[in-house]
Amino acid sequence: MTQKQKSEHLLQIKDLKKYYPVRGGFFRRKIGDVKAVDNISFELKRGETFGLVGESGCGKSTAGRTITRLFKPTSGKIFFEGQDITNIYGSRLRNMRKDIQMVFQDPYASLNPKMMVGSIVSEPIINYRKVSEKAVRDEVMDLLTKVGLPEDAYFKYPHEFSGGQRQRIGIARALALKPKLIVADEPVSALDVSVQSQVLNLLKSLQKEFDLTLLFIAHDLSVVKHMSDRIGVMYLGNLVEVADGEDLYRNPMHPYTKALISAIPMPDPRNKSKRIILKGDVPSPQNPPVGCPFHPRCPEAMPQCSESKPQLKEVNREHRVSCLLYD
């Protein structure tokens, strides 16, 4: 490895915002914004797994796709290996894509049904490197075995595989360029538990083998906790808590995190722990509440919560919370 000594952070996100315009009325003017990601900041250390967790509509997928630059950020900065990649385009963006790859949620929609598995996995290699056909084929065969598929998968089509196997194909494709960062957006939520555990184990072992940094996005906190070193909890476009996985589970600070943990049904009928039931639904991100985004549902809301928006602050070592209770 001839890598230069760089900062321990592979990826840094600063005040990232992604708004989607809402259009309507005369000439489809812009009449508002959906604030999908509203000011989030975090960093990924080299080699770690960072989990982003939250309910549907909290902006976790938008965050993942903005970081991979599939979407253009509204404002904020993204640094990858110390370089600002927020507004790069053309060949620089193309080059960056080699290092950041993505695994998608739906293994039925993310693979082209008309392409052979071999072509799907070799496409990124052919696009980015000048290698002979034979070398590409050997490399792809090697990748397919690494993700636990038989070699004859090369000549088959996606519909011939089960959901779990398709997700393995998606992983092989993401690995093809030997990226440094993989953004996995709900990679197992479409799978059954038994297959889910196979894919999670595979991701973990490949991470070691390929020395990968993972941004793992999911709604299932128990899956995220199993996979991640550190976890960020998102609510309505905001990061409400960031902490080490174990610490977050043992010692949650934000009322939303507490409710989220207590809402998970435990696979043990003898567990009779008290449950925090939140009232109502997640508000619309087009019109988020003033002040703390969680205050209308928060069991510990105070009068000042509807006035000022709390900022993410370090409360304990490596444990950041955005809540006025800890101000």
Partner: protein, 337 residues
Amino acid sequence: MSKNHALLEIKDLHTGFDIGGEFHHAVKGVSFDVNPKEVVCVVGESGCGKSVMSLSVMKLLPKHNGKIDKGEILFNGKNLADLSEKEMNRVRGKDISMIFQEPMTALNPVLTIGFQLDEVLLNHSKASKEQVRKKSIQLLKDVGISRSEQVVHEYPHQLSGGMRQRVMIAIAIACEPALLIADEPTTALDVTVQAQILELMKKIQDDKGMAVLMITHDLGVVAEMADKVVVMYAGQVVEQSDVDRIFHDPKHPYTRALLDSIPKMEERVDELNTIKGIVPSLKNMPQQGCRFVDRCPSAMPECKQIDPQLGETNKGHAVRCLLYETSQPGAKTEVRS
């Protein structure tokens, strides 16, 4: 009726589909009971026949290729399998009702919530429209929709997923059925909303004294809700017991593997246990021997030859596995048609 029988008795149910001229069983010889006021959860991976089983009870199988081949579904002693469509319509919604997984597709998008609720009540009672509307509003209040006077005039798309599932529950309990079948009622919902809905279902079940037959793949939900658990694999019941024993003394290798493969919050492990392979498809179902044999960590050579029978190991705890069969060699194979 004074006779002491179960509310719903499923006996040796065989349901299958005609696929390309061949008949394949999706449910093969399922038997279990649901007692009054009992919550029974059926678990298993997708493709295990859980949903087909529940659709058989409601007789909602696709008409062109699905059919109940053999077996009885006794509801209060009456065999539902023999009922005509017209007779069945009197049972559906009134005695047995059903909640589906996807509240968006289960509700009609072009009718108001009020209309869809009134419809059930009008079908099964002789009340006037005004009385029915009043009852509808009250029902929506019961399921925790506070602005129910407005919601009756709204359409499904105006409600969130959790609200829609509440409406589905309101429709299902409108005629106070004795049995509620819930097919993955919370799978499409977020955890915090799931917690709300489960809480609501428990409360209603308690208040109205309904029995609930719940289909789910989430073992956490099972632990939360069930009195009794039925574990299905490849169209058969592989284990059946009260909820405590399923989680604390599971017998069948499939049940154990299923429990081991979920990530646990309270412990940190490097590697999760897995079950190798996947559920065999209808066409590739093993014709002889145990259906789990190819994925089973404790498979023995004879597992491929002998069909295991569902036998009681303890009182109320039944397992379909040769490991627990006492009279191994003599175990008779099922009589097939």
